[in-house]
Amino acid sequence: MSSDKMDADKLNGGIPSPLRRKLLLGMAALPAVGLLPRGALAQALPTSAVNTTKLAVTDGTVKVGILHSTTGTMAISETGSVQAEKLAIAQINEMGGVLGRKIEVIQEDGASDWPTFAEKARKLLVEDKVAAVFGCWTSASRKAVLPVFEQYNGMLYYPTFYEGLEQSKNVIYTGQEATQQILAGLDWVTKEKGAKSFFLIGSDYIWPRTSNKIARKHIEMKGQKVVGEEYFPLGHTQFNSVINKIKLTKPDVIYASVVGGSNVAFYKQMKAAGIDLNKQTLMTISVTEDEMLGIGGENIAGAYACMKYFQSLKNPNNEKFVAAFKKMWGGESVIGDVTQAGYLGPWLWKLTAEKAQSFDIDKIAAASAGIEFTGAPEGYVRVHENHHLWSKTRVGRARTDGQFDVVYETADLIEPNPFPKGYQ
């Protein structure tokens, strides 16, 4: 290691030898690093030591990428993640940055188009040489960039709850995978509401289909019944027929994973058809505070959502987070599950870099397992060896003002299990 370092020092213009010796001594005193004043850290950790793979790291700065859609149909959902990531980065910079270096953000627009995501990911990794990327929202965009991150060895922090069945050295999944989000919620509704029959309804793409597959297995293993399972194309706006079908089958629980604009149509039409969500139990895994804005609280009040985070969560971390978010992005802004998961990304990366004492992708990937973040708005989280997070699952009940009352939370953190046996 030391010979590497000296070569690198020569490349940097040859620091006089006594100074270099001091630097090396400094390295040996690493445990004391935390005591050093701001700015001293960068000198204690020379760029040549924390960056052996030519990432965009200088003595004072480190570059990261944000890759979300700020135009196109997904901008609705991804805006919150961008805001949360920028907030986290601003807060980290205020505290002195990562390993003594200020974070500089390069933001790219995926434009709701999956090939564009791949192209921009390549640009961030190859041209900008960013040390980490916070981004992607839909599974389709993640699947599009995954080969790029693996080929050029980048690090992606992905914020959305998703269907699982994936694990990569180059990705940290800060949202929940399907079993974490689904199983505890189903158990709760069974216990609390005595539910025996379920009607599954979702948009027609991989996430709702995989999630419902898991839900169906779990329901049937418990000896309960699925009385209907329906999928509608993305953007579908007419749900009257399926609402009649729901009325005909009289399920104890409607289990909904409808996304996007369809969501609005679905809840409005259900209310218009006289289904009162205070009497008919409905559990959704796709409606966060963000979606509530468009649906309108009065159309969905009474429904249950199963997530890991709600804005109304009461703990000191969350109160600070919500206040800071509103200060930065305006008092009107709302914070959904994915927005909070987006906020975790930069923090987890900072903690990992500090544990690894390096920005190198391989070292970050290796050091990720076991990283704990006690300041998370959702409460304590920990990174699992499979690069997903241990997290609690919560059930919230929708209120007319667009927020949720948290009515249940699991006692323990739930282990992430992206490849659940018996559920595939």
Partner: protein
């Protein structure tokens, strides 16, 4: 799927399903009428039709916010004001677009497709910059929500009935304007033979502008009405454009009666199949049927008989 139900229950389900089909029919007609005028009568492929609808929806949103803040007493009636404003807002924008863009493209119908598609992207980005990327929630007066209980088991959504009533009213007005007024006669004359119509003294430019404006205005009203059943966001217009063209082309582009007949056929087919099969399958089967019928009968269901 029907075991364990009494005849009365089944009867009421089918009655409600019938209403669901009729509501879908009304929605389709409302979407398609404006386009039928622009595409069918003028031959302009208006890809920005959805965005004109969403402009109407945003006008409704502004209205609901404004009235609930400044004149809450009038809130129950605001929807009518909103629809009228939506008509004029979309109509005015339509006339502006006709003046600035479409009138240079009448002889190049395929170019209108590209130009209006570009226009739709521009409008989407304007909506996004002005109203934000997220969907907005349009608050409806209470009397528009909920359902009427016809019997104990049959419930009909009020907003569905409202859309049906609105569709009938607009259809009657369009019929009167296009086929019973002198202005409508002028429109039809220009569409059938532009040169001759000009020769007998009809101001064809003015007719074009007002026709385009009328089509866009109706789109605005449709958008306003759809705040009751769907979402209002910058890209929501895209949700409607495919179905709208489907209805107009299937019906035979130049025939307003054809548009209505085709809306009826497609909506009934889709709503019935959605009930017995799954949602995605129903959509696939509907589209397949339309493709097959259009292969056998490329001119659509109804054709206007004119001497060429």
């Amino acid at each position: 799927m029907f075991e364990g139900y009494s005849l009365a229950e089944l009867g009421s389900i089918f009655a409600m399903q019938g209403f669901a089909g009729l509501i879908l029919f009304s929605v389709f007609v409302l979407m398609a009428l404006g386009l039928a005028i622009i595409f069918g009568q003028m031959g302009v492929i208006n890809m920005a039709h959805g965005e004109f609808m969403i402009l109407g929806a945003y006008v409704t949103y502004l209205c609901s916010t404004f009235i609930s803040n400044y004149a809450p007493a009038l809130f129950p009636a605001y929807f009518f004001v909103a629809m009228i404003l939506a008509f004029f807002a979309s109509g005015a924008l339509g006339m502006l677009v006709e003046w600035g863009m479409i009138r240079f493209l009448y002889r190049r119908p395929l170019d209108t497709l590209l130009a209006t598609w570009g226009l739709s992207l521009i409008l989407q980005q304007i909506f996004r910059s002005v109203f934000g990327a997220r969907e907005v929630g349009v608050v409806l007066p209470d009397w528009l929500m909920g359902s009427v209980a016809v019997t104990d088991t049959i419930e009909v959504p009020i907003n569905g009935l409202f859309v049906m009533g609105l569709t009938i009213a607009i259809t009657v007005v369009i019929y009167a304007v296009m086929f019973r007024s002198r202005w409508g006669q002028g429109v039809r004359a220009v569409m059938q033979n532009r040169v001759m119509a000009g020769a007998v003294g009809i101001n064809t430019e003015k007719v074009d502008r007002y026709t385009f404006g009328l089509g866009c205005g109706i789109a605005g009203v449709a958008g306003s009405a759809f705040t009751m059943v769907g979402s209002t966001g910058p890209t929501s217009g895209q949700l409607y454009i495919v179905d709208t063209f489907l209805v107009v082309v299937f019906g035979g582009a130049q025939s307003l009666i054809g548009t209505i007949a085709s809306a009826f056929t497609i909506s009934q087919a889709q709503s019935t199949m959605e009930f017995f099969l799954s949602g995605s399958t129903a959509k696939v089967l509907t589209l397949l049927t339309v493709v097959v019928i259009l292969m056998l009968r490329p001119q659509g269901l109804f054709v206007l008989k004119v001497r060429r």
